[in-house]
């Protein structure tokens, strides 16, 4: 027994470190068991020739490859195959969607005229609304004048603008003028009445006036 004398194969003295001693003891046990198997004439040795720790780097790698490596590689391969199928599934969906888009684009091309017509109508409506802003209807103003100005008042000048009416008129009497002012003050669409000029001719009893009516913005 070479280890009994605590020397190695080169005959050098070994240390007495407890860990080292345990390793030596284990090796001795392995060797003893191996010898016992041989001596029993069975010819079977199930024990490994060398431990993983004693193998060279290349052998260690080969040992690892056959034991753990293949499990890892196979797992990764399985994962990559699953991914490949998922990729194919996605590609298939993408191709279908692209085909649908092409069909829809063709439909849209056929609807180009409708789109152009629609845009034209929308543009005209928006433009009309814009140009109609701040405009006024002369007929509504004339209706207002007919309603507010008493019958024996003669209008000599009438100016109608976007939010104002200016009129120069002659009333047969002061009472008629007063009646007109009363009508103007009661009208809700009028915001301001300004008397610009007023003249009363005693001889003819004619009351001439120039008035400006400011209307509410619609």
């Amino acid at each position: 027994m070479p280890y009994e004398n605590d020397t190695d194969s080169h005959g050098q003295a070994r240390g007495t470190h407890p860990l080292r001693q345990a390793e030596l003891d284990e090796n001795i046990k392995d060797e003893t068991l191996a010898k016992a198997a041989v001596s029993s004439n069975l010819g079977i040795n199930l024990l490994p020739q060398k431990g993983f720790g004693k193998l060279s780097g290349k052998s260690k790698f080969l040992y690892w490859t056959t034991k753990y490596g293949r499990t890892i590689v196979i797992s990764f391969q399985a994962l990559i195959i699953v991914m490949l199928f998922y990729k194919l599934f996605l590609y298939n969906n993408f191709a279908d969607t692209m085909e649908t888009i092409e069909e829809k684009t063709a439909i849209l091309t056929s609807l180009n005229q409708t789109e152009a017509d629609l845009k034209d109508v929308q543009f005209r409506i928006v433009s009309l609304k814009k140009v109609q802003e701040n405009s006024f209807k002369p007929s509504s103003y004339t209706e207002l004048i007919k309603k507010l100005v008493p019958q024996n008042t003669v209008i000599s000048t009438l100016i109608m603008e976007a939010d104002s009416i200016r009129l120069t008129a002659q009333s047969g009497s002061l009472y008629t003028f007063g009646q007109m002012l009363s009508n103007l003050s009661q009208e809700k669409s009028i915001t301001k009445v300004t008397l610009l000029e007023a003249q009363f001719d005693k001889d003819t009893s004619i009351f001439t006036f120039n008035i400006e009516i400011t209307l509410k913005k619609t």
Binding site: L19, A22, E23, E26, G51, F52, G53, K60, F61, W64, Y68, G69, I72, V73, F76, L79, I80, M83, K87, L90, Y91, N93, F94, T97, M98, T100, I101, K104, I107, L108, L111, T114, E115, D117, L118, V121, F123, R124, I125, V126, S127, L128, K130, V131, Q132, S135, F136, K137, P138, S139, T142, V154, I155, S156, T157, L158, I159, M160, E161, A162
Partner: protein, 191 residues
């Protein structure tokens, strides 16, 4: 640092060392495969998913647009007469003689006389982009009631005429009026 590491390795027993060595190689293999085998596949999948999402979104938008256009097409047919009126009120061109004809017709119908009509293409800034303005200045003569009626009929014209101001003057029995208005048309060049 290295000597300390070596010392630690030496202190490990055989089983522990085996486990660590196996674990190190396994981790290295997993990292290697993750970087060179798994990562490219994941990148491709991510790219495909992104493209698929974009394509799906585009497809949905196209469906919405097709549906809306179909609906709009039906409405265009349904409201054809109203659309024709809109086109007439804001035409694509300015035909002076046609406008003059319709105004003369209107004046004759209301018993008034057109004394003078002036058209002026404005060079000022457009109210709406691509919409051109033509100013009209018109002097008319006739009874006051007829002038009122003429103004009312002008509002009802198929072509939109925007009245800016009306000046009516009565001198003895003669009533004259000056109407300042504007008509609009869409510039065909801009379209």
């Amino acid at each position: 640092m290295i000597s300390r590491f070596t010392k630690t390795i030496r202190l490990l027993n055989k089983t522990e060392r085996n486990v660590y060595e196996t674990l190190t190689i396994s981790l290295f293999a997993i990292s290697f495969l993750s970087i060179f085998a798994l990562r490219p596949s994941l990148q491709v999948i991510a790219a495909y998913r992104k493209r698929l999402n974009e394509a799906t979104q585009a497809s949905q938008l196209l469906t919405t647009k097709i549906n809306n256009l179909n609906k709009a097409g039906q409405n265009i047919i349904k409201y054809q007469s109203e659309i024709a009126k809109i086109r007439e009120s804001l035409p694509t061109d300015f035909n002076q003689s046609n406008l003059l004809k319709s105004l003369s017709f209107l004046a004759a119908g209301n018993g008034i006389t057109i004394l003078k009509t002036e058209f002026e293409t404005t060079k000022k800034e457009e109210l709406v982009k691509l919409v051109k303005t033509v100013k009209i200045s018109m002097d008319i003569k006739g009874p006051l009631e007829n002038i009122y009626s003429f103004l009312q009929k002008m509002e009802q014209e198929p072509r939109y005429i925007r009245v800016n101001s009306v000046i009516i003057q009565t001198n003895k029995d003669i009533t004259t009026s000056r109407i300042s208005a504007e008509v609009f048309y869409i510039s065909a060049k801009g379209k």
